[in-house]
Subunit: 104 residues, 2 copies
DNA sequence: CCTTTATTTCCATAATATTGGAAATATGGA
DNA sequence: TCCATATTTCCAATATTATGGAAATAAAGG
């Protein structure tokens, strides 16, 4: 991952509503939840929820699948894991962090 | 950590210049680097670097310490670790993720 | 106290993001 | 085909963020 891609992911999560949506879907597990239920649960206007779901999806943090008239959104765990790896990468220039100075 | 605090951290990192600064300081290790050297290394106007360093510090991601005429900034690893824990917390509603559906 | 160097604050400009109402689109069932 | 429901797109108002020049502050050493 490069810096640009990481900022896209971070920006997607750096917003209270979106972070709440994301965590709701992390907790919901792989099957996810339909857009309407997400909006309802978080008391959001449909347009607002849709806007944030798009942001998260475009960043690759969510997957969307159609099921009947519903669109289910679910968390993409792989993307988050890649982000976490990037954030702690190259800690202390590669020198293993001493146990007296715990780093990453 | 609550959602609000986490968005503050994420917002601080969700900007290319700031993420680059943060990673530079993660790589620099616990001793950190003086503000001027960070600005120079990243080719930033002093005011711009100062603005971003303040954002990161206010979020708690950086520590600042005066040393002579220099102000050394360094990464606060604990804050990042707390963020990582928060992001993966409560995955799949607490149900351990099956090895066939690897989550977090 | 004056000078040099390091950094920050002030400020205005420019760019980007968030919000939700209303209209458009899509899906499935009667 | 027509209707009800689910979701998205369009749009405009509002709010937030980033940038850097210039001036202010701070620290150390003559």
């Amino acid at each position: 991952m490069e810096t640009k891609a990481a900022t896209t992911l971070l920006a997607a999560l750096a917003q209270e509503t979106r972070l709440t949506i994301y965590r709701l879907l992390v907790a919901a597990g792989p099957s996810g939840l339909p857009a309407g239920q997400i909006a309802e649960q978080l008391q959001l206007a449909a347009a607002t929820a849709s806007f944030h779901l798009k942001e998260l999806s475009q960043a690759g943090l969510l997957a969307a699948r159609q099921e009947g008239r519903f669109i289910f959104y679910s968390a993409n765990y792989a993307q988050m894991n890649a982000l976490l790896a990037f954030l702690t990468e190259n800690c202390c220039g590669g020198t293993p962090c001493g146990s007296d100075v715990p780093c990453c």
